[in-house]
Every structure is written in structure tokens, then in C-alpha cells.
Symmetry: C2
Subunit: 321 residues, 2 copies
Amino acid sequence: MSLEPRPHQAMREGAEFDTIRALMARWGDLAVDIGDDAAVLAPSPHGTRVVSVDACVEDVHFRRAWISAREVGVRAAVAALSDLAAMGARAEYVLIAFVIPDAWREELSEVADGMGAVIREAGARIVGGNLSQGAVFSITTTVVGCAQRAVSRSGARAGDLVVVTGLLGGPGAAIQAWDAGESPTAWSRGRFAAPAPRWAEGEALALAGASAMIDISDGLAGDARHVAAASGVRLDLDASRVPAGPGIAAAVAMQSGEEYELLACIPEEAYKKLAMDWAAISIGPLTVVGVVRDGADASPTSTASPVAGGFDHFASVEIPR
Amino acid sequence: MSLEPRPHQAMREGAEFDTIRALMARWGDLAVDIGDDAAVLAPSPHGTRVVSVDACVEDVHFRRAWISAREVGVRAAVAALSDLAAMGARAEYVLIAFVIPDAWREELSEVADGMGAVIREAGARIVGGNLSQGAVFSITTTVVGCAQRAVSRSGARAGDLVVVTGLLGGPGAAIQAWDAGESPTAWSRGRFAAPAPRWAEGEALALAGASAMIDISDGLAGDARHVAAASGVRLDLDASRVPAGPGIAAAVAMQSGEEYELLACIPEEAYKKLAMDWAAISIGPLTVVGVVRDGADASPTSTASPVAGGFDHFASVEIPR
């Protein structure tokens, strides 16, 4: 796939990291622990409070011709809540900031319905937000939740298995089709328009003892690098084991972004126990796709390299089961 | 002043309320208590957790020609933190979601410096955020804080005094000048570009026993109506008592938006005690501008009326001191 910015990409990976580094340099110790999917606030008697924010911008994260207004809402809500799932947290409160051009005014109710359905299913409540007019439609969603055991990106240890939920590649295949002027398959389209929420899976992985977790928003290969960098280890992925959706090539499944499936690192014994219960937790599979290795050679530089290079970096290896 | 949308207005008042009503109709009991400056989450041993989100969009909330990149950051941070001040809460955590066009990439460090300076002064920390490319620059800021005593908009009771912090009218006068192709006074410009944060004042008003509080983002007259509607009372304001900035007409001070000063209702005895200590709390004044009356005639309809009509609605009356 091209390394040029694609419409579904929030920001080219290099540019995003450059910007984050520049911001961190300005903020110094004012900005703490901002590398995870969500921020862990002070622990409470009921668990750890976790908060995250996610933006969905027209013509950046989606195009109006691709999906319905309701699907725009579903997608924005799942994307935001996914950041909590990736910490093992359940959502409790949601705040929604809309920027609304006149052309979207009529459709806002449909967007709201889509968001509402997802938030209701998650068991959370909408407690606030912000409305602004503006030239470009966007939804910025703040989610506040609680984790019995919060899992960051930084705890992966050599020997852990690397697992992923669900089947990958749908969003990438859908965008490839749209970009080529074709229609995506119903399955791929559905994975882009209404990704499956994985909060039950995230909580189960956390409670089972996952050492690190992330949601797959930058693609499996890219997000594996995020975990590797944060944990100071190497994640060796086996492309032949990546669970691709129907008719989807392994390379697409490896790099497809905005999946909102979860990647977790987990000790082998914990994985074996969890795997026995998995059918009661999720209708999707839980698949071992790699292993965590000692990370002397996992430098931040290789982690920030382009996706195509990263794919080579994670050499195919034999994985213990 | 014109009732047409102005560049600094997030949304015309009528349109904003129509949109909120439409959203509430879709969300039903999923959306709770979203009428306040910030949402009150579950109480903790250290106080009540409060969270809010605020957006700052180029060419809606400011124009690039008016203020520097650093001031854009200062203004966005003060606006967001002001919602916590209006609840009597202190900020603890901040999450910042940027949408960044290429033209803003170079200036982002200056924006970050401005936000950082305000957040540091507030004693809060930046714990997360989101970066997205996009055609229009915006900052959506989520603030999480804690209140020893959280004050909503809905507690005003007949007999309470209506007080405001600081001197009003600066942002309105500055925008009037810019719109007329003139230069605003340094004072007015400063009030728009770098509003004074009022968190110490908000906390002091809350602890002194304020019954209702709001930050003046829609103009004194408009925000008084918000409090009146939420509390089921009438707020009678005396235009001759409104503390206007240097050279600023009372009508401008009454209607100038995005002040980020605080309007509070407070029992007279509590006000008298607080007034004696005020000089130690704030360098600005605390001014009695009105009184709360029984609100049989304060219908939601009159509350949602245009600003100019609202100005008539709040007849000038004698105010007890």
C-alpha cells in the first residue's frame, strides 16, 4: 500500500510522531504518560479511572460518500470507546464535541442515533459535550471509564504470546476498493462502517493477565511496533498466522488501520486458560500471531519507520503454542 | 449588536438550543445532566470528579489575523478550564485533541506553549490527547477536575444576589473593533486574546456557598437566562451596575461573550462574608449586578429568546446590597 497519506489516516505515522515529540519538548514534565490509548487517573475504590479522547474528521477519517450518517456516528463511538477497551476499561461517561457545518445540520440526528446505540450497548451515559459551527464536520469524543486492572502498552515481556481479536483487513480492503472506484465486499464495508466493539474482550484479556494491550488503529504491524517501543521488547509476528477476513490478503490484514480489534501480549499459561473460555466472551476468534522477544534491537527509530519497512522488520518466526 | 452569527460565536443561540433539543430527543435517558458547564461524575473521597469538553475552531472562535499562535493556545486552555471554574472545581487532568492543517504545523509549538503555560498555572497535567490532520485548525480540550463543593446552574433561589467577577465587555469591544477594521484598545484585545483564569474565584464562590454558577461565555444577559431557566427563577440584572471595562458601554458589557468571567448567585449573608476576603482571592472586583426573583414568569421560551430581547426581559430594578 502507498505510504502517501490516505483519507482514513489521521496523520502519517512519521508526521504524527514528529508532532508528538515537538509537543512533548514544549510541555516537558507538564505532559505525563501520554503514550497510551487512554490516560490512567487516580485509582478509586471501584477500580482505576481511565480517560481518553478521539477525533473523527470528515474527509480525514471517512468520506461522506462511503457511509451513512448513522454509520458515521457508530464508527466515531466505537473508535473512542475502543481506546478504553484497549486499557481493559469499561466506559462509564461520554462527552461529545460536534463541529457542524450547515450541510450536516439535518443529518445530525442520524449521527446521534448511531453514537447513542453504541454508547447504550456499552452501558455508558452521555454527560456532556460541546456544539460549534464550523466548515468541516468533526466529532471529538471523550470517554471516561473504569478498569479493574488497567493494562498499558508498556508491560510486554519476552516469552509472552502476541494475540489479536477478530478478523483483520476489512477496513483496509474497503478503502482500497473505494479508492479504486469499486464497491467493497459487504463484510469489508461493514468492518469499516460499523466496527465490532471489543470492550468485553478487552476486559477479559486484562483480567486474564495481559501484560500489554493496544487497539489496532494504525494497522497490526504499526501497533505492534508501538507496543514494542513502549515495552522495550521486540514483537515477532508471523504473517501466515494473521487472521484475515474473507478474501483478504495477509499483507492487507497486517497493515489495515482503524480495525478497532485488540492486540495483546499475554503469558502463555494465562492465554491457555483464557482460550478455553473465549467462546463465552466473544463471537470472534482470539488468535496467536506472534511472540515477544528480548528487545535489545528494538530501537525507537525502527519503531517509527514507515509501515512497509516495519513489515519486513517483523520477520516470520516459529511461534510456540 | 447584530443578531447575525459573529465569528466569535460558537453557534447562534437559537440554533444551539434547537440542536441540543434534537440531540436530547434522540438520546433520551442515555444523556443525563448535560446542561451544566461540566459533568459531575461519581463523588470520590477527595471531592467530586468533574469533567468538561470545549472546542476552539479557527474562523469560528477566533481569526488568525487577530491573535498570535501562542494566544490561540492560551485562549483555548482558559476557555476549557473556565468550565471547571464555573463548577467550583480545580483542574487536575487535561486531554488535548488537535486538528492540524499543514499551514499550522510550524506554529503548533507556539500554540502548545500557550496552552502549557495556562495548564501549568492551573496546577493540572496533560495526560492525553489526539492528533489529526484536517482542513480547519481546531483544539478540543477535555478537562477533568475535582470540586470540594460542585455548583451547578440550577440552585439559584429567590433572594440570592447575582454577582460577577472582573470587568466585562473586553472581548465584545475587541471584536466590534476588528469587525469595523479598527484596532481594539490594548485592554479589550488582552481580554479576548488572554482571558484571566478564574479558578481561584470559582472555588472561593463555591466554598462560600454560591447556589448557582456559570461562566460568561454567551454574554452576561444570555448566561443569566441559562441560570434562570435551569433554576426555575428569574434573574433581574441592573445594567447600571454591570462592571464594564475602560471605555466600554454598558450594553456591550452586558452582551459580550467569551468573557470567561463568572456569574454566581449567592445568599446575601454569604456574599457579605466573601466580599471581605475578596481582595485576597482575586485582583479583579466582585460586583453585585442583580437579584434572584421568584420565577413563575421565567419560561424556557423567554430564556431561549435572542440576546437583544433578553436584554429587555431583565428589567433594571433596585438591588439590595
